[in-house]
């Protein structure tokens, strides 16, 4: 968790609020969290659909490359647009997930304060590594197509065998 900046200031700010205000704040974050979860799910569905189309497009193109180059190139043009759409959708999803994470973290911090948990950076760190690493790896893979295409190439070669 080298990139984690101390959350103590937020924790301290929240600690100065009344329980009633904190509860109200938690409700607002909960509603916001649900909105971003829904939005993230919808974006993921879009990415999955476009990736399937892209994969099919590329599979067809690579297959056609052996027998009919011009036709394969025509299919490749469609793949370029799909790829651009996937990259944009993945970038958007990283922003949505950051918002989702932000609201979830705020709810956790508020709940902790409401039940009187003392601030402990190690405990907070232990709460979030999985979510953070997932968030970050997904975001990076959003723009890392080399890995995605390497897998696709392997799959194409398997199909061709």
């Amino acid at each position: 968790m080298s990139g984690l900046i101390s959350m103590k200031p937020i924790y301290e700010r929240l600690g100065k609020m009344s329980n009633k205000k904190l509860q109200k704040m938690a409700d607002v974050h909960q509603k916001n969290l649900l909105r971003f979860i829904e939005m993230r799910k919808a974006t993921t569905r879009t990415i999955d659909e476009k990736q399937k189309k892209y994969k099919k497009c590329m599979l067809d193109a690579v297959r056609e490359m052996k027998s009919n180059v011009p036709k394969a190139l025509g299919g490749g043009m469609r793949a370029r647009l799909l790829k651009a759409d996937i990259t944009v959708a993945m970038s958007s999803r990283s922003v949505i997930r950051m918002n989702e994470f932000y609201h979830r973290m705020m709810i956790i911090l508020i709940e902790d304060i409401l039940v009187g948990v003392n601030y402990n950076p190690d405990r907070v760190n232990n709460l979030i590594p999985q979510e953070f690493s997932d968030l970050i790896s997904s975001s990076i893979s959003g723009t890392n197509f080399t890995q995605f295409l390497a897998k696709l190439k392997d799959e194409i070669e398997e199909v061709g065998q």
Partner: protein
């Protein structure tokens, strides 16, 4: 540090608009994006038609006609790139505005307070020029599969 994309004036000013104005702006951008997308799809369709016509000509043994069409196709691909860049930039902006219009949206500054090594995907570019450079490098799926389009065309034409 907050990525440049989020600090642009139009992004910052959108955040301060009322819900009604945000919705109006989104409609406006959606229309603009749709027009760009339609134009791009038309160009892609034209390219595909050219490639398919070349394929038919090749099957009939009309090598010269096929060559001409493939050469046109090749220059068509190059002419599509600037439009593709515009499309991606508009789509990125529209997507961000859509997210910003959701109640509870927080700018990355709030999140960077929690963690400073978050990756922002295409939003992490430092300028529109950088976005274009990235797309130029990204937009050839064949190249990443080890297939050189130009070389394939040349081989096809010379065969």
């Amino acid at each position: 540090m907050i990525p440049w994309f989020f600090t642009r004036d139009e992004i910052q000013s959108f955040a301060n608009l009322s819900l009604k104005k945000k919705s109006r702006k989104l409609d406006e951008l959606s229309e603009q994006l749709q027009t760009t997308e339609n134009l791009l799809r038309d160009r892609i369709k034209q390219s595909r038609d050219m490639a398919e016509r070349a394929a038919r000509r090749l099957n009939r043994g009309d090598h010269e006609a096929s060559k001409d069409l493939l050469n046109s196709f090749s220059s068509h691909i190059a002419s599509t790139q600037p439009l593709m860049n515009t499309y991606v930039a508009r789509k990125l902006e529209f997507s961000l505005f859509e997210i910003m219009a959701v109640e509870g949206f927080e700018f990355p500054s709030a999140l960077l307070e929690l963690r400073n090594d978050i990756h922002f995907g295409l939003f992490a570019v430092n300028s529109m020029d950088e976005l274009e450079r990235l797309l130029m490098a990204e937009s050839d799926p064949f190249e990443e599969l080890g297939i050189d389009i130009q070389e394939s065309i040349e081989n096809e034409v010379s065969s």
